[in-house]
């Protein structure tokens, strides 16, 4: 009886999620161009990830994106939410509405907007020229050094609101007496932050990190629209390499291997973050 209720969902889920997942593992053991006969190559596609410069770079960039998408927003969000929790200010709900907005806008739209900002004659360079910092102007997304942090900051812009709203909800549950007791002891804002606020929102920090890290490792559309991984390979990420290899270069086996590795990486990082979160609480 219960199985009949689950069957329709499970059927669709098995056909379009579980089976392809298994097929991805299977395909990753072959050298295949998507058309002719595939040859079995064992784990070669996986060892390539370690030896191929472009793939190694892609996974390295993924870690840089974890910093911009997850670590930086959590740091910013903690300070921001703490400041707003200490003093009841008006307009907090309007603030919540605004900072959460980047989460609901299609990433392609976000990417189009930021491309305009980073363009050679875009808003950022115009601003720099206006304040006399002409020397700093550059085509941000075409620069070998600055394109990666430039794209990363778009991720920070997207994530910070979500993280802040999440932390605000957690901090709202801290009993007022805790703050009052701390103040009677003469604790200042900084001590209050580290000894009361941060420990109280450990669970929210864990959730925020999990959400944003997974989002950063899944980033595809942002890269596709802003830089296509360039210039050179300076902003490519594993998810973009999966697409490029499978559908542009005809290296389906390698694409599958990168995809499987990315999946394992997402599971591993999530498990570690949650383990640390549990141990600390």
């Amino acid at each position: 009886m219960p199985y009949l209720y689950i069957l329709p969902a499970f059927g669709v889920y098995a056909a379009f999620m579980l089976y392809p997942l298994g097929r991805a593992v299977h395909l990753s053991l072959f050298d295949w161009d998507g058309l002719t006969l595939a040859t079995f190559v064992g784990l070669d596609n996986y060892t390539d990830i370690l030896s191929d410069d472009r793939l190694r770079a892609a996974f390295g960039h993924a870690l840089v994106f974890v910093f911009f998408y997850a670590v930086l927003p959590v740091g910013l969000g903690l300070v921001l939410a703490a400041v707003l929790t200490r003093a009841k200010v008006r307009g907090l709900s309007a603030f919540r509405t605004i900072v959460f907005l980047p989460q609901v806008i299609a990433m392609v739209v976000v990417a189009v907007a930021w491309r305009q900002i980073y363009a050679p004659d875009g808003a950022l360079n115009t601003l720099l020229r206006a304040v006399g910092l002409d020397a700093l102007t550059r085509p941000w997304l075409g620069d070998y050094t600055f394109s990666l942090p430039a794209v990363g900051l778009i991720g920070t812009w997207v994530s910070t609101g979500l993280v802040t709203v999440l932390l605000l909800a957690g901090m709202a549950r801290i009993p007022q007496e805790q703050f009052e007791a701390a103040r009677l002891d003469g604790a200042g804002g900084v001590r209050e932050f580290f000894s009361i606020i941060v420990p109280s929102v450990r669970a929210e920090i864990t959730v925020a990190l999990t959400l944003t890290i997974v989002a950063s490792l899944k980033t595809f559309d942002l890269i596709y629209v802003t830089t296509s991984g360039g210039p050179g390979s300076s902003t490519t990420v594993p998810s973009y390499e999966v697409y490029r290899r499978a559908f542009e270069l005809g290296q389906v086996g390698s694409a599958a291997a990168v995809g499987v590795t990315l999946t394992v990486l997402i599971f591993a990082i999530t498990a570690v973050v949650n383990r640390i979160g549990e141990r600390n609480s």
Binding site: M1, P2, Y3, Y5, I6, P8, A9, F10, V12, Y13, A15, F16, M17, P20, L21, R23, A24, L27, G34, L80, V83, L84, R86, A87, V89, F95, V99, L101, V104, I105, A106, M107, V108, V109, V112, A113, Q116, W157, G161, L162, V165, A169, A203, V207, L217, K218, F220, Y224, P238, V242, Y243, A246, F247, V252, A256, G259, V260, L262, I266, F267
Partner: protein, 271 residues
């Protein structure tokens, strides 16, 4: 809590500066969307709402958004029905293998679309099913089911057993209990799921990109990406297109904001 007026002032400054940082890129694109799209239009004034009509027709955004509506309708309705059924079983019944099956569903929340889209494309192509609306929609149904099953299970587990027991005493069948009592009662939880799945489907990029190689089922975000590729001169129409693509979800967000925030925060929180 009492704080000094200096701190209060600083708090407002933080609030405003941060809001502006978030709003600035959106306002930039909104301003551009109403701006002149070429020099000739520039001489006629600074306000050009006609850009939206031009994007709708020349940029074919009308057609792309039609496809998006079709795909979203399929994904949302299938996900809701299937998740309610599966969540009902997971949330209210005890049976062998329920834990293992449930964890299998949870797995899908974290699997990146990139991993499944590669084998799906080649397998569906072998069956001659790429470039159909189903190839674009069904993988997204599977992805949404991972969240939907989890979400509905949480709702059904939260329902007081007394309600179910009372209905059972009255002789109601499990099917009747589900459709005449639990589903109407769970309207808030179902609404949250509907808005989230709609948003994810509307904003999805990779699956429609791969599954419709000829572009026959090009959804709105893809239309925007391709429009950017071919339309390099003049940013006004591109900006207008971007606004059109973002608009449906943003409007829905302003109406049902609590559902968006609640769903995205609680959907990830604790098991």
């Amino acid at each position: 809590m009492k704080v000094s007026s200096t701190e209060r002032f600083l708090n407002y400054a933080v609030l405003i500066v941060f809001s502006l940082l978030v709003l600035a890129p959106m306002l930039t694109i909104l301003t551009q969307a109403f701006g002149p799209h070429d020099a000739a239009a520039g001489r006629e004034g600074a306000f050009h709402p006609g850009n939206f009509l031009a994007a709708w027709q020349e940029g074919r955004f009308g057609q792309y958004m039609g496809t998006s509506v079709l795909v979203a309708a399929i994904v949302v309705s299938l996900t809701v029905i299937l998740s309610v059924l599966a969540g009902y079983a997971f949330g209210t019944m005890t049976f062998r293998g329920s834990t293992v099956l449930f964890y299998l569903f949870l797995l899908g929340i974290m699997v990146p679309g990139e991993t499944i889209v590669v084998p799906l494309f080649f397998d569906l192509r072998a069956l001659g099913l790429t470039d159909t609306v189903w190839a674009v929609a069904m993988p997204q149904v599977a992805q949404s089911l991972a969240f939907g099953t989890y979400w509905m299970r949480t709702y059904f587990r939260g329902v007081s057993p007394a309600i179910v027991d009372a209905a059972r005493m009255d002789g109601a069948s499990p099917r009747r209990i589900l459709w005449s009592i639990l589903v109407p009662m769970g309207r808030p939880a179902i609404t949250t799921m509907v808005v989230l799945v709609f948003m994810w489907t509307w904003n999805e990029f990779l699956i429609p990109l791969v599954m419709s190689p000829t572009g026959a089922f090009r959804t709105a975000p893809l239309g925007l990406a391709f429009f950017q590729g071919q339309y390099t001169q003049g940013t006004a129409l591109l900006a207008a297109g971007a606004v059109l693509v973002a608009l449906p979800v943003v409007v829905l967000y302003f109406i049902l904001q609590r559902h968006f925030i609640k769903g995205m925060l609680e959907g990830a929180v604790k098991e």
